[in-house]
Assembly symmetry: C2
Homo-oligomer: 203 residues x 2
């Protein structure tokens, strides 16, 4: 059996990664979401244990000490982490695991799991990115300016990913990500057993 794909999707703030990941999960039942943990306050509608594990700083610290994270990082003064949650065993069983994490976390994961599939989402334009961040309406002016500045810095880090998808429309971005996953499953490095044609032929 082929090992599952570890799929890591990141993007600058406001590139719509949440929406895209939800659609990927809805369209591809073989892909399972791995819920991240964070110390940040839930946004309206976000559910603990589904969108994130919402932890206090003290709880987050305990998880770190109990080695429950594949990686964790501080972003905008809050902590974000990827719980291990038996990721390795699940991959070995053939499950694909989707992680939606920030660039800092993704690079940490890439160091540990270089065979993962690292996809970076870009906004179609600077203007679009700005209006998406503003449109979210949960930001004060300082937080907004900080997010914009960070977005530009984060986009540069995207050069370390494997693939880049421009989120022009949700549907075309999702189709491109599906093609990436199809192609990754066809990589020779993931299919060595298919080449075992020897014996049987001249018996």
């Amino acid at each position: 059996m082929q090992k599952g794909l570890l799929i890591v999707i990141s993007g600058a703030s406001g590139t719509g990664k949440g929406t895209i990941c939800k659609k990927i999960l809805a369209d591809l039942p073989e892909v399972a979401y791995s819920v991240s943990a964070t110390t940040r306050i839930p946004r309206p509608g976000e559910i603990d244990g589904k969108d994130y594990y919402f932890l206090s700083f003290a709880e987050f610290r305990t998880w770190i000490l109990e080695e429950k994270f594949l990686e964790y990082a501080e972003v905008y003064g809050n902590f974000y982490g990827t719980p291990l949650n038996k990721i390795e065993e699940r991959l070995n069983r053939g499950e694909d695991i989707l992680l939606e994490i920030d660039v800092q976390g993704a690079l940490n994961v890439k160091e540990k799991c270089p065979e993962g599939v690292y996809i970076f989402l870009l906004p179609p334009s600077l203007e679009e990115l700005k209006s998406r961040i503003e449109g979210r309406g949960t930001e004060n002016p300082e937080s907004l300016a900080r997010r914009l500045k960070n977005a530009v810095a984060e986009i540069k880090i995207g050069l370390n990913y494997d693939y880049v998808v421009v989120n022009d429309t949700i549907n075309s971005a999702v189709e491109q990500i599906k093609a990436i996953l199809t192609a990754e499953r066809l990589k020779v490095a993931r299919n060595a057993e298919k080449f075992d044609f020897e014996g049987g032929f001249f018996e």
Copy 2:
């Protein structure tokens, strides 16, 4: 403008690479075929300059001396070569170029053009491969046995390719190849210019 993809498709004899390449070319107008040269006798229906450049041994030798080949190799006592045909200029203009070449030739090209996309076709089973080679009906018994033995050896070399596609049905193989091409076009290494978001933001 993004540079075109150099797409190299190979497969053991009888894996149906010809049929698959024809369908790729028919479905994807952005992909252009690069005609190979050979000293072998045309099969019924094959057209000089379209399926192959059919050359005499003397002509082939002249092309070698005039450095008209990206690579060439001897297979089953005949010569096969990939004419340069301005491949580099065409790629730089954004054209995708499809090469359908044998494994020996493909590995030679891979050494020179590691950024190409190397796709190896496998038959769905040994039995299927055998019946496809036999079904062609252009082989004498010795040639058939040699082709079968060679097929097993060639399949092993496929481990050096980037992707493997099992030619179970033509349509599914073609769809998989299309996904590979879509994914390859999304590779960060081919899209560095998309990350140039700096300036313009805080002006």
